[in-house]
């Protein structure tokens, strides 16, 4: 489904209406469009004394502006149109389109835009909405995000240059990131997948993460160059960094891989592709960089890589060294305070997958949605997809009506529309009963009468196997809406899905009795769906069953009003015989009031009205038919009054009509072997977001647990110590808590994108820990604890800081993304990287001090 809205300063001028008509005509002809619905072709049922008709609401196109104004007034009184196809102020109109399958969103939008732009005339605003069209917008925004990669790249160039002060130091990590990104993107393309919103962020993420390995390698190499000649430095670097880089790659991969356990598909994909990317980056960072520095050793290394450098980062590192050796308590207290503060904000994090929350209020899609909300009270629709052998079965149509009635009363749902509504109106026009008739043939007849109307036919699928009930929602997504959807689901569960059809007229009266309770049940449930409270259901049901069993003839009256009703029901036939009602009235009155015999009545008709015997017989038959209808009407009237009395409440017209079910010619009985089977499925954006919202938490928790376990297991294996494994997890855990707390502070909603932050925090943050512990362990072989700590902090600590600020710089660029979700994702990751460094460099030294590594000192 797609929607185009057009706003004019004054829509109801002939020239503007003509524009709309032209657009509708053009769209109608377009090969990719199945049907177009607008106020121009809404059905209207007109029932007059004369007869009945179904016509397009705008049957005659207005000739001048005066007629256009009249049309406006009549349309704004029509509940089918006002607020649905025409805004309440009458200047915005909606065109609804059903597309054929397999159309590319972008192409579709381009084509639609072409048609609309050439015909729109003086339209001041045009908006496009609906899933295929919105996905085109999303794709557009995604491309914007990819363009941001370039900015991220430039920014990182500066950061890296600041760190390494050498062209090699700048280019090599980026080449690693670039190559691994290309490999990943190539992989995405080779699987035939399109670039989804999340995949668009991937190259950027690779640039941010994959540089890390390069940075660690190069940083270490530069450090070694202060002690060894070039070739030996490469050897030493590979010897010392291969394992930590492999380990950090593996753990990062584990973190990303855990995302693949998420339930939401884009997140799963993202996890898998990122895992691959990290693997490529590892291969490149070790083998490629090793070979490169062997072939092209830099002649001179910046002095800040020596252990007694005096630059800014060295000063910071020395300060950290002072803090973790001399001020342990202060550090721990500060960390605890921050932590407690963060925990305090964790409960404030809200899950919100609404478009607005994901895309931001400045995004085109959000603007469109807000516009629709403003003009039409929301555009989102909850669909109830109904499937059956034949959805035009009366039982199914009645259930649809009940679901609609029930839904409409829920707080987050608004008006609904379905094929049932239309058929009810048509049946009302046919025989003054505002219900779905119980007979399948009647539905067939009604359908036949109406099937030239496109709006109506587009509501039922091929072979009559499916139909959609659409219910407008007040908002795109919210807890209240989720609750309403759940209630609709519950309600649908109470409906018998399989029934059989029984024709009571084929049964003995005694057997017939068995089926009246089913009629009563349907009446009760239909009234309840309309929100009518029935206090004593049992006695009401008993009363209904009694009424149903009572023969219609017992409700006959013999007053003039009743006689007139019979005559009016037979008016066409009477007229056809060249007679008037007045001619027949006295004869009929005497026939009924005096209980005359049929033969006597026929004689009277022949003699007094000069009819042939044939004609008289025919007229008598017609009058008898009408008499039965009139009796039935009396019975239902009695039932309606009785119901009002029993419920102690006045019923409106529609509610009263439900009592017509008592006259049903067919009864539908729940039966597991019944041949009428129906299924209802909720769909539409509200349902999808609802599902994402709930799977979000499950996915989140699942992927976090998985990542934690995998990382922990790897650390324990690598360092052969449970204690080290546990200590290493502490900075990570604190980082995640702080990150979630920060989301609470800055009102960042939890959604598909931000939920990945924790996993990424695990994946990326663990790198710091691994490099740190690995180096510390190595240094312990040569030095005492204090000196090993100093060497680790100034050596690996420097690389960690380089890594963190370059990553942060890269991901912060994402916050410029036109997709808000990407923006907050970038900000969060950036912050997480920095927070993680702080925790790693401050906490790990204190924690590791408590570990006895049992390392044999290497002799110098």
């Amino acid at each position: 489904m797609g929607v185009i809205s057009l706003e004019y300063k004054d829509l109801f001028q002939v020239k503007n209406l003509q524009c709309i008509k032209n657009i509708v005509d053009e769209l109608d002809k377009a090969p990719y469009i199945k049907s177009v619905t607008s106020f121009l072709n809404m059905p209207e049922i007109i029932s007059t004394e004369e007869g009945l008709e179904v016509k397009d609401l705008v049957e005659v196109f207005p000739k001048n502006d005066k007629e256009a104004k009249e049309l406006k007034e009549s349309l704004l009184e029509n509940s089918l149109v006002k607020g649905k196809f025409i805004s309440k102020d009458g200047n915005v109109t909606l065109l609804m389109m059903e597309f054929k399958k397999g159309i590319d969103g972008k192409e579709l939008k381009d084509n639609l835009t072409k048609i609309v732009d050439s015909q729109k005339g003086d339209a001041i605003k045009v908006y496009y909405s609906g899933m295929p069209l919105m996905s085109a917008d999303i794709e557009e925004s995604s491309r914007d995000t990819m363009r941001l990669s370039i900015i991220a790249l430039i920014l990182m160039l500066f950061v890296l240059y600041f760190c390494f002060r050498s062209i090699r130091g700048v280019l090599m990590p980026l080449i690693i990131a670039f190559l691994s990104s290309v490999w990943v993107l190539g992989l995405v393309a080779s699987t035939g997948r399109s670039v989804t919103m999340v995949a668009a962020a991937l190259p950027l993420l690779m640039i941010a993460l994959a540089t890390a390995y390069g940075i660690h390698f190069i940083s270490r190499y530069y450090e070694e160059r202060h002690n060894y000649e070039p070739l030996k430095a490469v050897q030493m670097t590979i010897k010392d960094t291969f394992t930590p880089i492999l380990m950090s790659a593996l753990t990062t991969m584990a973190g990303f891989l855990s995302l693949s356990a998420a339930i939401v598909r884009p997140v799963t994909e993202f996890g898998i592709f990122s895992t691959m990317g990290i693997f490529f980056a590892f291969i490149l960072a070790t083998f490629f960089l090793g070979s490169f520095f062997k072939l092209f050793p830099p002649p001179k290394i910046h002095e800040k890589f020596s252990s007694d450098a005096k630059d800014l980062i060295s000063q910071v590192l020395n300060k950290i060294f002072y803090l973790v050796t001399e001020k342990k308590k202060t550090v721990i207290i500060i960390v605890l305070v921050i932590l407690i503060g963060a925990i305090g904000f964790v409960p404030q994090v809200k899950s919100n997958s609404s478009m607005e929350s994901r895309l931001g209020e400045k995004n085109q899609i959000t603007k469109t949605l807000n516009y629709f909300k403003d003009k039409f009270g929301g555009i989102d629709t909850l669909y109830i997809y109904t499937k059956a052998n034949n959805v035009k079965n009366p039982y199914i149509l009645r259930q649809i009506k009940k679901i609609e009635d029930y839904s409409r009363r829920l707080p987050s749902l608004k008006e609904s529309s379905s094929i049932s509504d239309f058929l009810i109106d048509l049946n009302d026009a046919m025989e003054n009963k505002k219900i779905i008739p119980a007979s399948e043939q009647k539905i067939d007849n009604l359908w036949f009468f109406a099937q030239d109307n496109k709006y109506v036919t587009s509501m039922v699928g091929d072979k009559d196997e499916d139909t959609l009930v659409s219910i407008k929602t007040k908002e795109m997504t919210s807890d209240a809406l989720d609750l309403s959807i759940a209630k609709v689901r519950e309600y649908i569960d109470t409906i018998p899905k399989r029934v059989k059809q029984v024709d009571p007229s084929q049964l003995e009266e005694k057997e017939r009795q068995n089926y009246y309770p089913y009629l009563a049940d349907e009446i009760i449930s239909s009234l309840q769906a309309k929100g009518i409270e029935i206090k004593n259901i049992d006695s009401f049901k008993k009363e209904l069953v009694l009424l149903a069993a009572q023969p219609n003839s017992e409700f006959e009256r013999d007053d003039q009003e009743f006689i007139d009703e019979i005559l009016s029901l037979s008016s066409l036939e009477i007229e056809d015989l060249g007679l008037s009602k007045e001619d027949v009235s006295p004869l009929l009155a005497s026939y009924i009031q005096n209980n005359q015999s049929v033969d006597f009545f026929i004689d009277k008709l022949m003699n007094e009205l000069n009819l042939s015997e044939d004609d008289a017989l025919y007229l008598q038959e017609i009058l008898e038919d009408s008499r039965k209808i009139a009796q039935e009407r009396e019975k239902i009237k009695t039932a309606q009054l009785k119901t009002e009395e029993l419920l102690g409440k006045k019923l409106n017209n529609e509610e009263k009509s439900i009592l017509w079910y008592l006259a049903d010619s067919i009864v539908y009985v729940p039966d597991d072997k019944g041949d009428i089977e129906v299924s209802f499925r909720l769909s539409g954006t509200p349902v999808i977001t609802d599902r994402i919202n709930s799977s979000l938490f499950r996915g989140q928790i699942r992927s976090m647990l998985l990542a934690f376990l995998m990382v922990f297991a790897m650390l324990v294996i690598q360092f052969k110590s449970l204690k080290v494994g546990l200590y290493a997890m502490i900075p990570l855990l604190l980082t995640i808590i702080t990150a979630v707390g920060a989301m609470g502070i800055f009102h960042i909603d939890l959604n598909v994108s931000t939920m990945m932050v924790s996993s990424i925090a695990i994946g990326a943050g663990i790198d710091y820990t691994i490099h740190y512990i690995s180096r510390y362990k190595n240094e312990l072989k040569k030095k005492n604890k204090r000196n090993a700590l100093k060497a680790t902090l100034t050596g690996t600590g420097r690389a960690i800081i380089f890594n963190s600020i370059s990553v942060a710089a890269g991901t912060f660029v994402l916050s410029l993304s036109s997709i808000k979700m990407m923006g907050s994702f970038g900000q969060l990751i950036g912050s997480v990287m920095i927070v993680s460094v702080i925790y790693t460099l401050l906490l790990l030294p204190i924690l590791l001090d408590k570990v006895d590594f049992k390392i044999k000192k290497e002799s110098k």
Binding site: D25, D28, K29, I46, T48, E50, G51, L52, E53, V54, K55, E59, V60, K63, M430, E431, P437, S439, Q441, K442, D444, N445, L446, W447, F448, F449, Q451, D452, T457, D462, L569, L572, E573, D576, Y618, D625, I629
Partner: protein, 261 residues
């Protein structure tokens, strides 16, 4: 303003149901439009009542077909006005739906068997399409007069005359109609209906004809295309009977209800 179909919209449809065209020998000399029209008029078969059984094939834009079988009776009254009664025989979902049209659409009644009560079709919906057929109630009703149009011979080819018909009355839904008339047999092989802005909206072609022993031509297959809706209606004649005997009250509401006709 009420929309009314013009004369030729209806000629088209009249072929559907009861037209037969006399074979008229044609001289080499060219004919005037009026002469052509006269010859076509002359070809109208001499009958007062007719019964046909035909198949109506509805073809939608996706090429999906729906076949409906129908029986139709028609009668020309003294004032040349026609009454028709048409009933669908199949498929099951439409079986028994009957339409009665009295005196060229003076009154139209619809009978739906499940409801057992005839309903009158309100006047203003006569221009509407009849039950998804691509034909309007008026198309079906043959409501036409031959004195409110202007005609012109546009072209004469080897095999046909091409005639333009312009309705003079303001009250019509077609701006122009182009008729292709077979030069030999004098029947319209194709009729094109143009709406406002000279846009071709509907066409009607006669795909098959039958020439009987008396030299009369009966169309056997007619195809009606609604260009705007991309919808086709094909009518295939299965049985035609002329001058069937019908009771005087045949074209009345009471016939609508009769289970057999």
């Amino acid at each position: 303003m009420k929309i009314r179909k013009s004369f030729f919209a209806v000629i088209a449809v009249c072929f559907l149901f009861f037209s037969g065209i006399t074979l008229v020998g044609v001289g080499a000399e060219s004919l005037t439009v009026d002469e052509i029209m006269d010859k076509m008029e002359e070809t109208a078969p001499d009958f007062t009542t007719q019964k046909t059984i035909s198949e109506m094939i509805l073809i939608d834009e996706d090429g999906k077909e729906e076949i409906r079988e129908m029986i139709m009776f028609s009668q020309k009254g003294e004032d040349e006005k026609t009454s028709t009664l048409m009933r669908f025989l199949s498929p099951k979902s439409v079986k028994g739906v009957t339409l009665l049209n009295i005196n060229d659409g003076e009154k139209i009644y619809l009978y739906m068997p499940a409801y057992n009560k005839p309903r009158r079709i309100a006047g203003s919906s006569k221009g509407d399409e009849f039950m998804g057929t691509g034909l309007s109630y008026e198309d079906m009703s043959m409501d036409y007069k031959d004195n409110d149009y202007e005609k012109k011979l546009l072209e004469e080819t080897d095999s046909e005359y091409i005639i333009e018909v312009l309705p003079t009355e303001e009250d019509v839904s077609y701006e122009k109609i182009i008729l292709h008339v077979d030069k030999e047999k004098f029947y319209a092989t194709k009729v094109e209906f143009y709406e406002a802005d000279n846009e071709l909206s509907k066409t009607l072609t006669i795909n098959k004809i039958k020439v009987d022993d008396n030299g009369k031509v009966t169309p056997m297959e007619i195809e009606f295309t609604d260009i705007a809706e991309n919808q086709k209606t094909k009518i295939v004649m299965k049985e035609t009977e002329y001058d069937v005997e019908l009771s005087s009250s045949f074209f009345s509401i009471r016939t609508l209800k009769k289970p057999t006709l």
